[in-house]
């Protein structure tokens, strides 16, 4: 049976991945829509910026986030000015870091899905006097559904598996920032292989169950085939 500490890591991981995915869908959808539809000459610049977290090693991203969110960094000074204190070594800090780190995994599938929405479908809806909002929610969104499934799955799975950034920003504090991947790494480092194997197996099963249920819930709905 998993220990209390392990359950706590599981709960933290689920909360972190769930919250991160939700926030990423909220932030990523308008961003991806804009990237897919814009004719602005600045588009390649923004697309490159979105892909940036893929380039740097995670611990290096973590290091720069520490600098940014630290007492001397602009973000740190802003959060302190707001009276929120500092983000590093807190759960909120982990969420912010994960949103940045997993951004391309959500925005890129969404962008591709939106780009695949035919312009004609939107124009047809417009001739039927659908407002831009209506066109987005009644035409584009349902057509981009597979993109949303991929984006949520990648965003969630990537957050569960991320390690370098969460260790750097989280500081490995039990019950607050020690997520599964960090707890697992701790066991491996300390050559506690029995605990490591159990956690790794648990993690694979946990992620597997969540991902399978997500895929099931998001199955494309087809008309049942009728047999003659």
């Amino acid at each position: 049976m998993p220990t209390a500490a392990e359950w706590s890591a599981v709960r933290l991981t689920a909360e972190l991945a769930g919250l991160t995915t939700l926030l990423l869908l909220l932030v990523g959808t308008p961003l991806a829509w804009w990237l897919a539809r814009t004719r602005s000459p600045a588009k390649p610049l923004w697309a490159a910026l979105v892909a940036m977290p893929l380039v740097l090693p995670p611990t290096v991203i973590g290091f720069y986030l520490l600098l940014l969110m630290g007492p001397h960094g602009p973000v740190g000074q802003f959060t302190q000015w707001l009276g929120l204190g500092r983000l590093p070594f807190t759960f909120s800090g982990l969420v912010v870091a994960s949103v940045i780190y997993s951004l391309p995994f959500v925005v890129q599938p969404l962008q591709q899905a939106f780009e695949a929405v035919p312009e004609r479908a939107l124009e047809a809806a417009a001739t039927l006097r659908a407002s831009p909002w209506d066109r987005f929610f009644s035409v584009a969104l349902p057509l981009a559904r597979p993109g949303f499934v991929t984006a949520s799955v990648l965003g969630f799975a990537h957050t569960v598996g991320e390690f370098g950034v969460v260790l750097m920003i989280g500081g490995n504090i039990p019950d607050r920032t020690r997520v599964l991947s960090v707890a697992l790494y701790d066991h491996v480092e300390a050559t506690e292989f029995d605990q490591a194997h159990r956690l790794a197996a648990g993690m694979v099963v946990f992620a597997g169950v969540v991902l399978v249920s997500l895929y099931v819930a998001n199955r494309p709905r087809r008309e049942p085939e009728r047999r003659p």
């Binding site: 600098l67 630290g70 001397h72 590093p88 070594f89 260790l167 500081g171 490995n172 480092e189 300390a190």
Partner: protein
């Protein structure tokens, strides 16, 4: 043209054969000093160091799995002993090249007092330590905290880094007001020490003996033997002392 290239490459090959190379795995806390020692070593012997720095525990796993390191400069004396016992290192080749010294450091000048009383202060919200399970400096830090009777007060304030290098980053960026790090990380020769620190009296923690050992892959490589000899010499000892390690 071909003949000319061949003619040119022969002397180069001959020189490479005389001046060997040695593949060294170095504990992260010694990464700075080894660069200066390596320069002196190359100047004295003509041999070249190929340095990989990282966590000693990680090197152990890699060496056991057949990593091509020839010499290990560990952060402890346990790992070299274990490698010898398991047949991955040469018996009798291990010796202590440095004794680590622990400091309580803050990036803020004047923040840490000479007695380390700041450790119990309310102004401190986070104290960074290296993971005590794997890093000897982290284990030493916990001993100091216990010796000061602050284990309970500090428990919720401790942030655990995967290595002493990361503990230093936590404190250097100011996110942790204090960090237990190696003296060699904050007092670099030729550079004024940044921030403020308390040199923890060695009686508060078990000695951090850092041992070097010849690994099986280095047997028969004259450059590997030369490096171990060089580390025992006065020139290297002076460099190691200047870097903030005890004899």
């Amino acid at each position: 043209m071909k003949a000319l290239l061949l003619g040119l490459s022969f002397p180069l090959l001959a020189a490479a054969a005389q001046a060997g190379q040695v593949q060294v795995a170095v504990a992260a806390n010694f990464a700075g000093p080894i660069a200066r020692i390596g320069a002196a070593f190359t100047a004295a012997t003509g041999h070249e160091l190929k340095v990989s720095s990282g966590a000693t525990g990680k090197f152990y796993t890699q060496i056991v799995s057949g990593a091509p390191f020839e010499v290990l400069l560990a952060a402890d004396d346990e790992t070299p002993k274990r490698l010898v016992a398991e047949g991955h290192a040469v018996a009798g080749s291990a010796y202590t090249y440095a004794i680590g010294r622990l400091v309580l450091w803050s990036a803020r000048p004047g923040f840490v007092d000479a007695q380390g009383a700041v450790l119990g202060s309310d102004q401190v919200r986070h104290v960074a330590i290296a993971n005590p399970k794997v890093a000897p400096y982290g284990a030493a830090a916990l001993e100091v905290i216990r010796a000061r009777g602050l284990a309970e007060v500090l428990a919720p304030k401790l942030v655990t880094a995967e290595s002493i290098a990361q503990a230093h980053q936590f404190a250097a960026t100011g996110n942790a007001e204090l960090g237990f790090v190696a003296l060699s990380q904050v007092a670099v020769p030729g550079r004024p020490a940044s921030g403020s620190y308390w040199l923890v009296p060695p009686r508060l923690y078990g000695e951090i003996r850092q041992d070097a050992v010849l690994l099986q892959a280095g047997v028969g490589n004259p450059a590997a033997a030369a490096l171990l000899d060089f580390l025992k010499g006065d020139a290297a000892k002076a460099l190691i002392r200047d870097a903030g390690y005890g004899p």
